[in-house]
């Protein structure tokens, strides 16, 4: 079966009924610990994803049934969380931190090295189905930055050389983190459709002015930001040395302050 076919059916290669029967004691334990069944939704999805590798439609159907919600509600909840995958992913899920503390310690080089060595980008899987790559937000290991997680196991103090070593070890099957369960060959895209920036930039939202509009968004008193900053002395032209080019700063400031929006812009 091709991955396209299975994706349409949303059914992995494994026997769901058999798996469910095997997991029944664990499922019962999870459901029993909450005062309301619906609370078991996240833990149950986790449980099945651990065994199947991703969240199939059978899982959605079953979990919705157990939790007493509709399949649509179940889908809605699952789609809210980034750790749930609706398509198969690689055996090694590489999640590199891209937040500030790691960036300050060289995360950019780590990310570039991964992208270069694996030939894939954000939320993509290599053709051999071995690696899925994602740049993620703060993983909370800021004191040992740059850091990442491999299958949710922390790896700290990264260097570009260490990245090479890790990839080699994973390919050779000697890496210390166990590979994920993979019941089906993953497609290239982990999530989708990927929205290109251009589509998201709809016209005119949040009142972004036209290029020939030298104005801005006024504050409560109708002052433009530049004026306010000038009044507060923050962007004081009196200290031009701070700016790349004093003329540019000067040009930012409106010539007069009485021009109301729409007519006085010049």
């Amino acid at each position: 079966m091709t991955s396209e076919q299975t994706e349409r059916r949303g059914v992995s290669g494994i026997d769901f009924a058999k798996l469910r029967a095997k997991l029944q004691p664990e499922i019962d334990r999870i459901v029993a610990q909450y005062p309301q069944r619906r609370s078991a939704l996240l833990p149950l999805v986790h449980l099945f994803q651990d065994h199947i590798g991703y969240v199939t439609r059978e899982v959605v159907h079953y979990v919705a049934d157990v939790c007493g919600v509709t399949e649509a509600q179940c889908e809605s909840v699952i789609s809210f969380y980034t750790l749930f995958y609706r398509r198969p992913i690689g055996k090694y899920n590489l999640q590199v931190c891209r937040n500030l503390s790691c960036m300050l310690r060289g995360a950019k080089e780590i990310m570039e090295r991964f992208r270069e060595r694996l030939g894939i980008g954000q939320l993509e899987t290599t053709d051999d189905g071995l690696f899925t790559y994602e740049e993620v937000e703060c993983l909370g290991e800021c004191h040992r930055a740059p850091c990442m997680q491999v299958n949710l196991r922390n790896v700290y103090d990264l260097t570009p050389d260490r990245v090479d070593e890790m990839i080699a070890a994973m390919r050779a099957g000697t890496f210390h983190v166990a590979p994920l369960v993979q019941t089906e060959h993953p497609p290239r895209q982990v999530r989708g459709p990927a929205w290109p920036r251009a589509v998201r930039k709809s016209a005119g939202a949040v009142g972004v002015p036209q290029p020939d509009n030298a104005g801005g968004v006024g504050d409560e008193q109708g002052r433009l930001a530049a004026e306010r900053l000038r009044e507060e002395g923050v962007m004081a032209v009196a200290a031009p040395g701070r700016f790349a080019d004093a003329k540019i700063v000067e040009a930012m400031l409106p010539a007069t302050t009485d021009g109301a929006a729409g007519e006085g812009r010049r």
């Binding site: 610990q33 909450y34 005062p35 309301q36 619906r38 609370s39 939704l41 996240l42 833990p43 999805v45 986790h46 939790c67 809605s76 909840v77 809210f80 969380y81 980034t82 750790l83 749930f84 937040n99 500030l100 503390s101 960036m103 300050l104 310690r105 993620v136 937000e137 703060c138 993983l139 909370g140 290991e141 800021c142 004191h143 930055a145 949710l152 196991r153 922390n154 998201r200 930039k201 939202a205 972004v208 290029p211 030298a214 104005g215 801005g216 968004v217 504050d219 930001a225 530049a226 900053l229 923050v234 962007m235 701070r242 700016f243 790349a244 080019d245 540019i248 700063v249 040009a251 930012m252």
Partner: protein
């Protein structure tokens, strides 16, 4: 100020405190026994109130007062420990969960007894799989030893502790988002009021507290509220675990008395800057806090003083930036984070964080317009205070503080302006 003896972090690195026997040899679970066998729940609430312990998760709300809001109407109450630590720069709860899980369990159980909870929950961030496993093992030990479950410490009181794993969403650290997630829903924050104290988990009275906050309750019981209140400034007393990261020689988690200065934190505690670098800016309370600069270095590190300086103490994450930091890029990185994590319920936050990110990206590509820098300085005022929770508000302070301080670094992203950035100079 002299360094204070460690309280929560005592023994970490020397002893295997994940083992219940080791923990008990250090006096572990003694306070739980004392609380359950010898004390009235209200007496514990009074002690916490007197200690003036303030929440260590970010908002800094007095813990004792939070507990006292619970209505006495006979409905079941719940205690939820918030371990969804995801604030950029914060790694203190990871440390406690990984190294001293029993301390976390004891803190939760004492607090659950104090508020007479019918059940206690801990919500662990989905990414913290290793910590989750360590915690579950510790919980099993504690359950077998009679510290969790039926007839705790041989007394009359019973209370179970349920471990709930999240699945990757920063917003679930917001208390009502967390409660929704715990109920098996999307982690979208709720409209307040009603506050969780009245209608929280399953509509019942609920207290949500941070891991570190609950762990300090043990020590307030052990040494008395006067001891706790005597450390640091009167209005925000006590020790605090501070996560120092970024451009310092020794990044790490350090337990310090509040009231220590930012200069001491950076230059004494964390070993100072790298050779040949100079200090540029510091975020004193994680990704949500405004930057402070050289003139603020001698500000005492406590809730009031940091607020007075124009920022916030937040979760205690100190991110240090030296002169090699590109502020435009830093602003973009943080804004991308908030845009990614906005749950999308409220328009000002959903659109505001996204468009600010797009605008910063445009500047970063060198395709910005002069107006963009203006917009960055003001558009935040249209986001903050206009949505259900504090995520939108949190996206504003960093960008505004650095745009005002380093406008030239943003102006260089304007199309047609020669790039004189630090990046280019390096």
């Amino acid at each position: 100020m002299a360094m204070y003896e460690p309280v929560l972090t005592k023994g970490i690195g020397e002893l295997d405190l994940t083992d219940i026997d080791v923990y008990r040899k250090q006096g572990g679970y003694e306070q739980l026994r004392r609380a359950v066998r010898e004390m009235e729940p209200d007496a514990i609430v009074d002690m916490v109130m007197k200690s003036n312990l303030r929440g260590r998760g970010g908002a800094g709300f007095p813990t004792g007062r939070k507990w006292s809001f619970l209505p006495k109407d006979g409905r079941p109450r719940y205690l939820v420990c918030n371990c969804d630590e995801a604030e950029p720069g914060t790694c203190k709860d990871h440390l406690l969960m990984e190294k001293t899980p029993h301390q976390v369990i004891e803190g939760i159980m004492i607090s659950a007894y104090a508020v007479r909870a019918a059940k206690a929950f801990i919500y662990i961030r989905g990414e913290m799989l290793e910590e989750y496993e360590i915690f579950c093992r510790a919980l099993e030990q504690a359950r077998n030893a009679g510290f969790v479950g039926e007839k705790i410490c041989g007394g009359e009181w019973s209370c179970d502790l349920v471990v709930h794993r999240g699945a990757g969403a920063y917003i679930c650290g917001e208390e009502t988002g967390l409660l929704n997630s715990l109920e098996g829903k999307r982690g979208e924050p709720r409209l307040k009021p009603p506050f969780p104290a009245n209608a929280g988990l399953y509509g019942m009275p609920t207290v949500v507290n941070n891991v570190e906050t609950l762990a300090y309750v043990i020590h307030i019981l052990a040494r008395g509220p006067e001891w706790f209140a005597s450390i640091g400034p009167v209005k925000s007393p006590g020790p605090k675990i501070v996560s120092i990261s970024g451009h310092v020689r020794k990044p790490g988690n350090y337990e310090v008395p509040l009231g220590i200065t930012i200069r001491e934190l950076i230059f004494d505690v964390a070993g100072g800057l790298f050779d040949g670098r100079t200090f540029k800016a510091v975020q004193p309370g994680g990704g949500s806090s405004a930057c402070l600069f050289e003139e603020h270095l001698d500000t005492p590190y406590d809730f009031e003083s940091i607020a007075a300086a124009g920022s916030m103490l937040g979760s205690g994450a100190v991110v240090v930036m030296d002169d090699t930091t590109d502020m435009l890029e830093a602003a973009f990185v943080l804004q991308r984070f908030f845009a990614h994590e906005s749950c999308g319920q409220c328009t000002p936050c959903r659109e505001g964080t996204h468009w600010t990110e797009a605008l910063l990206e445009r500047l970063l590509e060198g395709n910005g317009r002069k107006i963009d820098v203006d917009l960055l300085a003001t558009v935040g005022d249209k986001i903050a205070g206009h949505s259900l929770c504090a995520l939108g508000d949190a996206s504003v302070p960093f960008v505004q503080s650095v745009v005002k301080r380093f406008p030239e670094e943003f102006l260089r992203g304007v199309k047609g302006v020669p790039d004189v950035s630090l990046t280019a100079a390096r």
